[in-house]
């Protein structure tokens, strides 16, 4: 998956987790928490969704990498480089 494909996928996950939020003007450099009403259970939802879609296990110590869109894409790029985008 390319960086852009990963971004699209994370956006798709966020739409599911935070269906009341407007994601159209999401700033990729800012943390999700600054822009969206997300709590720890929501972040676990992101981890769970990635696990379901790609069978990847993100260690708890790495959760900080999911703080913003930029950091998430940077973190996931090497992990998902050989993976095709989920349909």
């Amino acid at each position: 998956m390319t960086g852009e494909e990963i971004r699209e996928e994370v956006l798709d996950i966020l739409e599911t987790i935070a269906p009341d939020e407007d994601l159209s003007d999401l700033d990729d450099s800012k943390s999700f928490r600054e822009q969206l009403e997300l709590d720890s259970m929501d972040f676990l939802d992101i981890v769970m969704e990635l696990r379901k879609r790609h069978r990847i296990q993100i260690p708890e110590d790495d959760y900080l990498n999911l703080a913003s869109m930029d950091s998430t894409v940077t973190y996931l790029k090497p992990i998902l480089k050989d993976v095709e985008k989920a349909k």
Partner: protein, 414 residues
Amino acid sequence: MTPSEKDDRRIVITGVGLTAPNGDNLTDFRAALLAGKSGVDHYHIRYVGDTLAGECHFDELLYQKRKELRRGTRAGSVSIYCANQAVADSGIEWGKIEPERVGVYIGVTEHGNVETENEINEIKAFDYDTKIWSHHHNPRTVANNPAGEVTLNMGITGPHYTIGAACAAGNAGLIQGAQMLQLGECDLAIAGGVSESIRTFGIFAGFASQGALAEHVDPHRASRPFDLDRNGIVVAEGGCLFILERYSDAAKRGAKIYGELVGHAMTSDASDFVLPNPEQQARCMNQALQRAQINADQIDIVSTHATATTSGDIQECVALRQIFGDSSTTLINNTKSFIGHAMGAAGALELAGNLPSFDDAVCHHTINVDNLDPECALPGLVLGEPRTKNNVTYILNNSFGMLGTNSVVIIKKV
């Protein structure tokens, strides 16, 4: 006891919020009952397949955001809808209420089966990898979930819990709320019962295995308490929560009062897991009458529990004969014939549907009795169409459940 002290002990219903398969508020529900309108329809659930159920269609987004709906449970959502509707109906200015003085007491038949089945179904697609099991499962399945979701939604910081009492739970929630008011544990109680049971295939499969799941080509004709051609229970979902206050508080604010809880009782059969026990059911009714300090012949309407199982219907009629004899002045009806068995919500919904009788002096009927079972032929049964009765003053509401739990409440016109 001085009159004011006595008024502090009197518990009245000042608000009703409900969702039933044939109505999402008391006005519509009552109109459906008087019009003979069923809420039972075709229904499909995984593994069991096509069956029948009473499904509610209230607006879930009226009081919840989509994210809250996703995170919570159906029972929580039903409870939130009913609680908010009840508060609105009561005319209470919610902003002036002390949230720590509000208690939430919700009767449930069961809770957690739906959510656990969902997770099992989810991990099945991943070869039963438990790493897929949701972190939401525990907060969704704790037994207090439906009541807890109400407190989260409404900012209530008083006590909240559910009352697990099988299908006697609707009355049990009401009784619990009243007792907590009398004990001074809260000043306002949101109490009644809810059910999300149609979302679990297990309840349908369980009743089917027991030979107690209704079937009929016409869904509206499927729930047939007291009819010889009945063939079991139609499972339904729903909820009904009441606003309960001390009479003194209600009178002070000039509240509309639906009725006063003057008698209640709960008993146990101690005889069988599923078969009812008419002796204990009768004892329960007697205890409630004694608390109300009235005789059986003063009851104007009996709202029966009968679920359309042969044993359940007949045994309840045995108990009713013990209490009411061959009286034709006490009218008897059944709400499950319209909506099916709403489990934890049943007792509360069935009471609510009868409360307007205090004002309109009409007893709603029982539908789908084409061939009355002679063993259920009580003289007061109202069949086919509603019946007018002058001066409805007392309603007795029966609600019984598995493991032999019985609950009865008596409501008096104020």
